[in-house]
């Protein structure tokens, strides 16, 4: 189908974009468009105004900033996926990004766009929560920073106000950590039914630190703190990891839909967590 008519703006600066969002109350921000365009075509979305961020150069790129990596909101997935600094300091992001959509979608779709869209079945939100990323948001009163845990507020809902923009994401470095992203879906290119993002730091044979987050186990990504606590200080053996992973679904309330009911998702979460943590430990 053809999208409903809208007014189109492609500002060159963040300030100009913020001004447009202030002036047009029914504006929708266009990043890479790989979620928004299908929604426009199916007329699930019909905004009066589209503000395209593609011409704002400062929103694009990956940089090394001391203890953190900074990923510009408009950096395409394909650039993040092949970035040597991301691979070295936040391998979990490289691995998860490589599973987003398909190659064409990764050429257009952006890191920040996927996060700001906040689809519960998307790949990157759980990764951002697992890695304690911070989200830098620009608005009429300047910039503010929100933790990943506070950024995601519900299905397609985030801490971003209607007159605000996601500028960049700051990720602490996890240099030397093992990482794995385990995604369960039935066919190529499909959304995950459940996904698990895991990163671990080993000290000899035991797990010194662990970060585990679940995707599509609720309206927002869920940090599996019970699993993390059970893993830390223990050995990275199949038995110990299985025991810790059994707590993955604790406190979660996943949906029941055509892909699986809530019980099935809770079971999947424990299995995928075991696989993800063992694989992460294997690469540490």
């Amino acid at each position: 189908m053809i999208p409903a008519p809208f007014e189109y703006f492609a500002p060159a600066t963040i300030d100009e974009a913020l001004g447009l969002l202030r002036e047009h109350s029914d504006a929708k921000v266009l990043a890479g468009g790989q979620s928004l365009m299908p929604a426009l075509r199916l007329r699930l979305a019909a905004p009066d105004t589209i503000v395209d961020l593609a011409k704002i150069d400062e929103l694009r790129g990956v940089r090394d900033d001391g203890d953190v990596l900074v990923i510009g909101a408009m950096t395409p997935h394909s650039v993040v996926q092949s970035s040597p600094v991301v691979n070295e300091h936040a391998r979990l992001i490289s691995l998860a990004t490589a599973t987003v959509g398909d190659p064409q979608i990764r050429h257009r779709g952006t890191f920040g766009g996927s996060l700001a869209h906040a689809d519960p079945a998307a790949d990157l939100p759980a990764v951002a929560v697992a890695l304690d990323a911070s989200f830098v948001i620009a608005g009429p009163d300047g910039r503010r920073t929100v933790s990943a845990a506070d950024f995601f507020q519900g299905v397609f809902s985030t801490a971003l106000g209607e007159d605000e923009l996601l500028v960049e994401v700051r990720v602490p470095k996890y240099t030397g950590w093992g990482a794995h992203y385990e995604k369960f879906n039935r066919v190529a290119q499909a959304w995950s039914i459940v996904s698990v993002a895991a990163a671990v730091r080993l000290d000899g044979d035991s797990i010194a630190e662990a970060r585990v987050a679940l995707g599509n186990m609720g309206s927002t990504p869920v940090r599996a703190t019970a699993v993390e606590q059970a893993l830390v200080g223990g050995p990275a053996t199949a038995d110990a990891v299985r025991e810790a992973a059994a707590r993955a679904a604790d406190g979660t309330s996943p949906v029941t839909d055509l892909n699986g009911d809530a019980d099935y998702r809770r079971h999947l979460a424990t299995v995928l967590t075991r696989r993800a943590v063992l694989a992460a430990a294997g690469t540490a």
Binding site: P5, A10, R41, D102, P103, Q104, R108
Partner: protein
């Protein structure tokens, strides 16, 4: 209406378009380049794949205004002087199509794939074509064709 200037298959075009015009509709209806086809309404099938500044994209998931100032290559821009592109030739020789509807997108994505990976395994090809659906062939001959084109140095 918004004025755009786009280079398509080597020629420059300046046109007035409605902002809501999809790139694929601009290519087909305004420029007459019907080689690029529309298969689905959800960005799934990949049959509308073209290259934007040398990288594969789904032209149904892009507005024509987003291509302003950029360069697009479609299936119609691949052959030179009546010579098929090596990827087109390989699809022909290996019978990598039946109904042919997915073929323009398959060929455009396959060229992108072997530009990144000049010696792809079976699995690399299947994964690299995960965004392109074929409902006839079972993909077997498509995989063969892509590997043959890669071996023949078809990334150019």
């Amino acid at each position: 209406m918004t004025r755009i200037t786009v280079k398509v298959d080597g020629s420059s075009f300046t046109d007035e378009v409605e902002p809501r015009t999809l790139l694929v509709h601009y290519l087909r209806e305004q420029l007459g380049k019907t080689g690029t086809v529309v298969g689905c309404d959800t960005g799934n099938c990949g049959s509308c794949t073209v290259h934007l500044d040398g990288r594969s994209v789904k032209s149904c998931s892009l507005l024509a205004v987003q291509a302003d100032g950029h360069e697009v290559t479609t299936i119609e821009g691949l052959s030179t002087n009546g010579q098929l592109h090596p990827m087109q030739q390989a699809f022909h020789e290996h019978h990598a199509l039946q109904c042919g509807y997915c073929t323009p997108g398959m060929i455009m994505q396959s060229i992108d794939l072997i530009a990144d990976n000049p010696d792809p395994s079976d699995e690399d090809v299947r994964l690299g074509l995960e965004g392109n659906l074929c409902r006839c062939t079972g993909y077997q001959n498509i995989v063969k064709a892509v590997q043959a084109a890669a071996a023949a140095g078809g990334a150019q």
